[in-house]
């Protein structure tokens, strides 16, 4: 039972983390109609910045804040230099152009930080376990992640649903041409949205840095998960991204933890333990295929294009 609660919390934490990535992706996707494969590179940059700045300043929190600001700036620069030229083009062009950007960022990181990975130690005040329920211990760092990401999700909700900028963002997601025709400075809005997405990706990378090693190519695996979430949730819908991220987080974590046991029960020890590792990694892709087959536009489609 303790294990189950712990795995549920891990699932929640992973889902919320994925939400940070997917939110930026779905915003860029929904508003600029841009497929951005380089989103994973921004996540990687966030992690590298965090590790570097934390080592320089000697403070985890200052390092984290600087990393987020740095990723925000890189994102906005990237939008002005490269992404802006891709709007309104074919999705194939987006895939290809941003694929080129992945190569560029991976290599640039290798040039700057070298081929070996970095590590960002968990700060001492979070490097312990706390008793969240009577008799249930949980890592303080992971618990802090849950709190921070929930706060960011709430901030995003207020930003998108309750402010003027958010109103423009939502309007942009449902009808871009109309927003431009009404005299909104579309270029500025796009740069801001892209920067926001980049900062969220950077935050996600920074959060993951103490848990995983900071290494080149770390964005490539998680990027695909984030895409799966945007597609399941419906492109352009932040609410959809939130629901889908939690769904994917839970299914992936619980699937890896308990699916092998279930398979062994069902198929017998031999067949079950052979099939388990492959099947538990495939679970979310199966989920995505099923959802797209039933609802080809995702769960919460922001626009019915």
């Amino acid at each position: 039972m303790t294990l189950f609660i712990e795995q549920c919390l891990n699932g929640l934490q992973f889902g919320l983390l994925l939400f940070l990535l997917a939110a930026g992706l779905t915003l860029v996707f929904g508003i600029m109609d841009l497929v951005n494969l380089a989103h994973g590179s921004l996540y990687m940059l966030g992690a590298y910045f965090a590790a570097t700045f934390a080592a320089w300043t000697g403070s985890f929190v200052i390092g984290a804040v600087l990393a987020i600001i740095a990723t925000l700036l890189v994102g906005m620069a990237l939008e002005v230099i490269a992404m802006r030229r891709l709007y309104g083009r074919d999705h194939l062009d987006h895939v290809l152009g941003t694929f080129g950007l992945i190569l560029f960022f991976d290599e640039a990181v290798r040039l700057i930080w070298g081929p070996g990975g970095l590590s960002l130690p968990v700060p001492a005040w979070l490097n312990r376990s706390i008793e969240i329920l009577p008799g249930v211990q949980y890592s303080a760092y992971r618990f802090a992640i849950i709190i921070v990401t929930l706060a960011v999700a709430a901030f995003l909700y207020i930003l998108v649903m309750r402010t003027r900028v958010g109103m423009l963002i939502r309007a942009g997601a449902s009808n871009r041409e109309m927003v431009g025709a009404l005299g909104v400075n579309i270029n500025l809005l796009y740069t801001l949205v892209f920067g926001l997405g980049a900062a969220l990706a950077g935050l996600a990378g920074m959060i993951q840095a103490p848990i995983l090693t900071v290494q080149i190519g770390m964005g490539e695996n998680i990027l695909i998960l984030a895409f799966v979430i945007t597609v399941i949730g419906g492109i352009g819908s932040i609410r959809g991204a939130f629901v889908a991220a939690l769904l994917v987080g839970f299914i992936d974590t619980l699937g890896r933890a308990f699916f092998p046991q279930i398979l062994v029960e069902l198929l017998g020890r031999q067949a079950g333990s052979t099939a388990a590792p492959a099947l538990s990694s495939m679970l979310i892709y199966i989920l995505m295929a099923v959802i797209l087959i039933v609802k080809p536009q995702g769960l919460f489609s922001a626009n019915s294009r």
Binding site: F29, V35, L37, A82, R85, L86, R89, H91, L92, D93, V95, L96, G97, F99, G100, L101, I102, L103, F104, F105, D106, E107, A108, R110, L111, E220, I224, F227, V228, V231, I235, T274, A275, A276, P277, A278, L279, S281, M282, Y285, I286, M288, A289, L292, I293, P296, Q297, G298, R305
Partner: protein
């Protein structure tokens, strides 16, 4: 059909003759490495030709095409591992497995369109990737080595590199031929019609879903065969050959060469693998005069150049290599006409 001596046709002819005469060059110079490199180019060109059929000619943006390379390769390697060495069994099996996979993936994915189609084909390819990583008996993440290359009852010996190269080249020419015949057939015309306006095609009364699915399966099957070739070429298969960045490479080849053109994918495969192979040396040479000490090291970062180069092709050279050649040919024709006037 009339063949004019335009730069485009000349370059294409030179490419084909060059490919055919390559073993002669290798025999003269003893440069065995070129033979290995070109065998790889020819095999991947075949995969790119198959992707071009759906991506270039009918606008289906499949982002999971490397899965068929892996499926074809794994079918060959697994059969070899289980003691079946005959190519007469291995290759048809590789073709059948990838055809079945393409049928299932196509039937499900073609219900969606646009970005959703890109993502669902990607999801299926990832499933194949994780399936291969999870097969502990066949090496899992570490991959699986082939004990020996496919045998063909003593008819041809694939372990002879020149023979293997010519077999691959023959199959590449055959697949280009197939794509040529297909795209000029009624079937191919419908596919190209779907690319420009699917709604209109279905309004005219074509069952577009069936046409697209057929095209999708043909492309997957062809790519599965090149997978069997690549397994024989490297004597090794691993899940990483199905990772999504591999699918990205195939798309790069098609677009770099020129989408929806017959020889574009061949140019693209050649260009990408050449860049991969020779860009490091090129960068080192370029850096040498400025910083002799760092020249060798600078070459390691060749992807720093390749990445923006791709972006550049996307932004400014939509037609790829074939498009550039065509523009050159058109300019030549215009000059000719101006002279006559």
């Amino acid at each position: 059909m009339k063949f004019a001596l335009t730069p485009r046709n000349l370059v294409t002819a030179a490419l084909l003759i060059g490919l055919a005469l390559l073993p002669l060059y290798v025999a003269l110079t003893g440069d065995r490495f070129m033979l290995t490199l070109f065998t790889r180019i020819v095999i991947l060109a075949m995969a790119a030709v198959s992707l071009n059929l759906i991506l270039g000619y009918s606008g289906m943006m499949s982002f999971g095409h490397a899965a068929y390379l892996g499926l074809g390769g794994y079918t060959t390697a697994i059969l070899s591992f289980e003691g079946v060495h005959s190519g007469f069994i291995q290759w048809p099996a590789a073709i059948a497995v990838s055809a079945l996979f393409a049928l299932a993936v196509g039937a499900l994915s073609l219900r969606t369109r646009g970005v959703y189609f890109i993502m669902i084909t990607l999801a299926f390819a990832q499933m194949a990737y994780y399936l291969a990583s999870g097969m502990a008996r066949y090496g899992g993440d570490d991959g699986l080595s082939l004990e020996s290359r496919s045998t063909f009852a003593g008819l041809i010996d694939l372990s002879d590199k020149t023979t293997f190269y010519y077999l691959c080249l023959l199959l590449l020419f055959a697949s280009i031929m197939l794509v040529w015949r297909l795209t000029n057939s009624r079937f191919g015309m419908v596919l190209q019609g779907v690319r420009s306006n699917e709604t209109r095609m279905s309004a005219i009364g074509y069952p577009t879903f069936r046409y697209k699915l057929t095209g999708f399966v043909i492309a997957g099957t062809l790519c599965g065969l090149s997978g069997a070739l690549i397994a024989n070429h490297t004597d090794f298969v691993s899940p990483s050959m199905m990772f999504w960045t591999r699918s990205g490479d195939l798309i790069v080849m098609v677009v770099l060469g020129g989408m929806g053109t017959l020889f574009g994918p061949v140019f693209g495969a050649l260009a990408l693998l050449f860049l991969e192979q020779f860009l490091p040396a090129l960068i080192s040479t370029a850096v040498e005069p400025f910083n002799p000490a760092g020249a060798a090291k600078a070459g390691e970062y060749w992807q720093l150049v390749l990445g923006p180069l791709l972006l550049f092709v996307v932004l400014f050279a939509r037609g790829g290599i074939d498009g550039m050649l065509r523009a050159l040919s058109r300019r030549g024709a215009d000059a000719e006409r101006a002279r006559h006037d």
